[in-house]
C-alpha cells in the first residue's frame, strides 16, 4: 500500500476531507507503478497537480517508481510554493537534460506567447520522460495526440535525453 496524502482541492478524492486533518487515500501498488499511475488510479487529473509532489518527503517527478509503504503527497496547482523551476536553474555538471520543444496546432498557448513551431527550451531532471514535459507546462494528456522525439513518433513514457527535439500535436483531422 502507498499512503497518499492529499491537500487543498485534492482532498475531495479522500473520504476525510477536513483540511484540519490528514486526507489520505491508501492505494495498493505493484512493481511497475509510478507516481503518475497511482495519481491516475485515484482519479486526480494531472493538470490539477502543482510541481510540489513529494515521495517520502522528496521532491519528485511523476515518472518516479513507487513501492509499498511509500508516502506520497500531492499539492494542487495553487499550492506549489516550492520553486518548480529549481531544476531549470541547474547548469554544468548537474544531471539534467535540455529539450527543444515545439508546440503545434493550438498547443502553443501552453507556453506563453510562443508562435506555432518556434522552439521552447525546457530543462528536465535526468531520467524524465515525455509525460514530464506535459506536466511541466500543465498540458493535459488528452490534449496531445502525437509526440515526436527527434522525428520519430513515440509514446508519453519515452525517456528524454539531453538535446532531444520534441514536437507535440493535438488531435488533428484533415482531409
Amino acid at each position: 500500500m502507498v499512503e497518499v496524502h492529499l491537500y487543498g482541492s485534492l482532498r475531495r478524492f479522500a473520504s476525510d476531507q477536513d483540511p484540519r486533518r490528514e486526507s489520505i487515500v491508501r492505494m495498493p501498488v505493484s512493481d511497475t507503478d509510478t507516481i503518475a499511475s497511482v495519481v491516475g488510479r485515484i482519479g486526480v487529473p494531472q493538470q490539477e497537480l502543482s510541481a510540489n509532489v513529494f515521495l517520502n518527503g522528496e521532491y519528485s517527478t511523476l515518472s518516479r517508481r513507487v513501492k509499498a509503504a511509500d508516502r506520497l503527497a500531492l499539492f494542487p496547482q495553487d499550492m506549489g510554493l516550492l520553486y518548480s523551476w529549481h531544476f531549470d536553474r541547474v547548469a554544468g555538471p548537474h544531471p539534467t537534460c535540455t529539450i527543444e520543444l515545439r508546440l503545434y496546432a493550438g498547443l502553443e498557448h501552453y507556453a506563453q506567447e510562443t508562435e506555432s513551431g518556434s522552439a521552447v527550451p525546457c530543462t528536465l531532471p535526468k531520467g524524465a520522460v515525455a509525460a514530464d514535459l506535459l506536466h511541466r507546462l500543465a498540458i493535459p494528456a488528452e490534449a496531445v495526440q502525437l509526440v515526436f522525439v527527434n522525428g520519430v513518433s513515440q509514446q508519453l513514457d519515452c525517456p528524454m535525453q539531453d538535446g532531444d527535439r520534441v514536437a507535440l500535436f493535438p488531435p488533428v483531422g484533415g482531409g
Binding site: 515521495l55 499539492f75 499550492m79 523551476w85 535526468k126
Partner: protein, 582 residues
Amino acid sequence: MPKVLRINMAKRTASFEEVPAKYATMGGRWLTSSLVSDEVSPLCHALGEENKVVVAPGIVTGTAAPTSGRVSVGAKSPLTGTIKESNAGTSFGQKLARLGIQAIVVEGKPKEKGRFWLVRITKDGASFAPADASIGQGLYAAVPSILKQLGSPGHAAVLAIGSAGEQLMAAAGISFTDLSGRPSRYAGRGGLGAVLGSKGLKAIVVDDAGAPDRELADRTLFDTGRKKLARALTEHAITKPKGALNTYGTAVLVNIINEAGGLPTRNFRDGRFEGAAKIAGEAIFAGNKERLGTELYNHACSPGCVIQCSNAWHRPDKSVHTSCLEYESAWALGANCGIDDLDTVAELNQLCNDYGLDTIEIGGALAVAMEGGLARFGDGARAIELLHEIGKGTPVGRILGNGAVVTGKVFGVERVPAVKGQNMPAYDPRAIKGIGMIYATSTMGADHTAGYTIAPEILGVSGKLDPLDAHKADLARTFQHVTAFLDSTGHCLFIAFAILDIAEGFAGVIDECNGVLGTHWTADDAGRIGREIIQMERRFNERAGFTQAHDRLPEFMKYEPLPPHNAVWDITDSELDRVHGS
C-alpha cells in the same frame, strides 16, 4: 529633491539634508546598509552612543508599482552583532517616499534614561512630543492613541516599539501600522526595537497629507514596467487573486514543509509535526469559514499590493483575534513548541505583537526553555504565561526576551539552533540543505529571507541523493545577491514566486527602477548591485570581528539525525566558504 531626515536623540533635533550623490540611486536595504556601513563603527555597542537606526523606503516605494509597500530598517544588531536590515510591509515607507524622504537616520543617545519620545513627520517638517502616556501600555492601545494625537485621519502611519524595545530586549522588533491602523506589521528580526529603545525613541508618526505624487524620471518606461510586473503577479498561481497566498496566506507552507520533512518540531528534534494540519493555512481558512459563516480571503498590508496575503484569525464570537498569522509565527509558536491549537498560537502571536517582539526569536526561546524544563512542550497555557512575563520584564521574562541563545545558556541547553546568535526560522537545514547554506553564510545570522532557496534537495527521479557540488554554493550566493537587490527595490519578496517563473515580470522590475531613477540598468546590474550590497555587509561584519568560523551551523546538527529523512548536516566547511568565494 529627496532628503535625508536626521533625528538626533541626544540633542532632540530633527534636520533635513540633501542626499549625497553616492546614495542617489539607492533605496531599501542598499541604502540602510550603505549608511550603516559608512556611519556606524562596526565595533560599537549596539545599544550605545555610536549605533544608528536607518529607515528607508525602497527605490519604487510610494509609486504605483504593484506590491511595493515595503520599508527597510537597518542598524548594528544587538542580537547578532552583525549589520542588520529588517523589512516590513506597511504604508509607512510609501508615506515617507511621498514626502520626499529617502531615509531617516536616528542617531545619538539621550543622557536621561527611561524617558521616551515621539517624532511626528509631515510635509511641514519634523517635531518631537513626549511619549510618557504610551509607556506601560500594550501597542494595540498605544498606537491608536498616538495616531489620534499626532496624525490626520486616513493619512498617517506609525512606526513604534513595544515594552520589549523599551526594556532593550534583543528579541524586540519594530511594529508598523497596517491598513486598519493596527500595529500588526513587523520589521521583526535582529532586535532593532531595542536599538530604538536605547535612543529613547518610542514611535515615529508619518503623515503625508498634502504630499504630491513622487516625481519619476521616465513615466512611460515606469508604466511599461509596472504593467509587466502586474501581469506576472496576476497570472501566477501563487500570487494571483485567490491564488495560494491570497487564500491561505504564507501559512500554506506548513503542510508543504511538513511533507518535505523539514518542519522543525519541538526545538528542531523532528522534521514532521503530527499537529501540522491543525495550524496550517488550510486550517486557518477552514476555521474562519466555520466561525464567520463565510469564506474569508486575505487582505493587503499596504496600498497597491496585488498579492494580499495577510490573514486575520477570528474567535468563535467573530471578533478578530490576531492579524497576521504568518507561516513563521504559526511554526515558531506552534510546531516548534509542540503546540497544535490555533487559538493558542493566535494568542501567542497577538501577545508578541502587543509587547513588540519577534515571533520567530520568541518561539525559538520558548522551545529552548521547554527543552530546559521551564515548561512542557505543548503546554500552551504556560507559554502564554511566559509571554506575559516577557512583556512585564520579570527576570525569567528578560531571559526569554533576549532570545534563544541567552535562554539556552541560562537553562543549560546545548541544542540551540542558532547562527551568529539568531534562532533559525521554519526550515530545518538537515532536510533542506540549500537553506542551511543560507543560514550559515548570510550576513545577518540564520535568516530565511536572505536567500529563499527553499527548493529541497534535488533527489531526482531516480531517488539517489545528488552529491553536493560547487553548484549549490553558486546557487546560495546568487540567491543572496538577487534577494539583496529585491530588498532594495521596495518590492515584497513574494514577487519572486512570480518573476522567477515569468521572465517578463523580472524585466518589469528593472524597467520600473529605470523609470523612477533615470538609470539604464539591466538584469546583470541587478546581480551586480546585489553583490555589492552583500560584499559591503560582509566587510562590516569582518570589521566587527566575524570570520569564516562564524559561517557555520550548530554542532549538534552534525551528529543528530532529523527524522523522517534521518539526515544530518554534512556540508563541509570548504563548501560553505565557497559561497562567498574563498
